[in-house]
Symmetry: D2
Subunit: 140 residues, 4 copies
């Protein structure tokens, strides 16, 4: 079961349109856990020439998606709370790490941190999913 | 003053790299208020073929950026809390409307709603900025 | 149905231990809506002699509880995000108003605002419940 | 410096009106860290006979207050996001542990967890303060 679900998520996210648009790359996956990488490019600049909050959020949302679906059934995002701690620089490589805090039949809670390659905390997030009973549709 | 700041923000966001990447378009701006439009495209699909949460968030973050900087001084995002209410469909046109709830010397609070073209609520957000004293750097 | 559920909630909250401990009083109730009143007393002082954040939160949580259970079935709080806007003074009368933003079979989202008797915004909150199928246990 | 500030906070919270009202007891304090204890009593019951969300929040808010003021200067709560994970039982002893995630000149971010005496996660919270320059007013 483990390899099957994890392999399917890795494969699916490699061809995920939004992941490809932003250069999001899943680099670690386990039950209730994931790490996703993104390089901050000039295409992500906001009106101040800094990384747009939407890009940083997209990175941590991808980690959330991977971790919360790692149990093989569909998870739907309900609530996310992000604190922006330190603005990254263009050219930085960022890592989002999602960890499951709790899981019941219907609800899962996640802690997600974004750090740069020096280990500085960039953003902190709490996120919640509704857990459906259906299996991931792209499993065989 | 009004026209100068608003004109500068409109112009700046028209050429904002991240806005162009996602097709975010500022269509209304006032003091503490903005509306931004985005079409949900296939490039924004997540692993379920639905609009990625990161794309929806980027839309509301753009409205937040415009509204919170409309007073002419630099605002920095501190905290955002998003509730995902209803998943939009690919092809939908979404509108994010940001309204200022309160503003003190240092802190501004915003309510941001994302709706589709039928008026359905897609996402609701509370967001907070730190207000610096410096003028927007792209004002003349 | 309407009178029965509303009457039961009014009656139940009048004798709710925590409401009585803090002086929380339901003064308005409708489907997905409520208003609750609380006087800020010296017993609520924090270490700075101001109203404790926990007391202000308890007020808005009571409004959330009333509004989210107004449909007659049990609602369970999942997520709450509060922004503290302006500290109230000891002696102020505060009003929390909860409004339903959206409701699906399983999830309900609420907007809750706390204001003082001059209409100043004291705190803003977004809150989410999980909606069970069971009726409120204290209905006949 | 350390003993002076910590001693002052311990002493101040021992006589804090709201802490006494709810039986909140500071049991551990360090720079950016605190642990606070509370027994869930029948006085805290909500309309379902369970612990009121406001009481649980008050506990974690007390830990937040202690940890964020531990540096000796005044901190003001800006934003708190709480996820309710598991309802405690009447009679449970709960512990809130606050840890500083980050601290800049003006902003501090905290992670706060509430657990019962069996170690079960009851609630998770992210919280943010604005850091003033003034010293705590009750320091000598």
């Amino acid at each position: 079961m483990k390899n099957e679900v994890f392999d399917a998520i890795y494969k699916k996210l490699e061809s995920e349109p939004y992941a490809n648009k932003l250069g999001l790359k899943l680099i670690n996956l386990d039950y209730g856990y994931s790490m996703v990488e993104m390089s901050v490019t000039e295409e992500m600049e906001n009106m101040f020439g800094m990384a747009h909050g939407g890009a940083i959020f997209s990175l941590l949302d991808e980690a959330f998606e991977a971790a919360s679906n790692s149990h093989g059934t569909i998870s739907v995002a309900l609530s996310m709370n992000v604190f922006y701690v330190k603005p990254p620089s263009i050219g930085d490589i960022l890592y989002a790490e999602a960890k499951e805090m709790s899981k019941t039949k219907r609800i899962g809670n996640y802690d997600i941190k974004v750090r740069n390659n020096k280990g500085d905390l960039i953003a902190a997030c709490q996120a919640m999913v509704y857990r459906k009973e259906e299996k991931l549709p792209f499993l065989n």
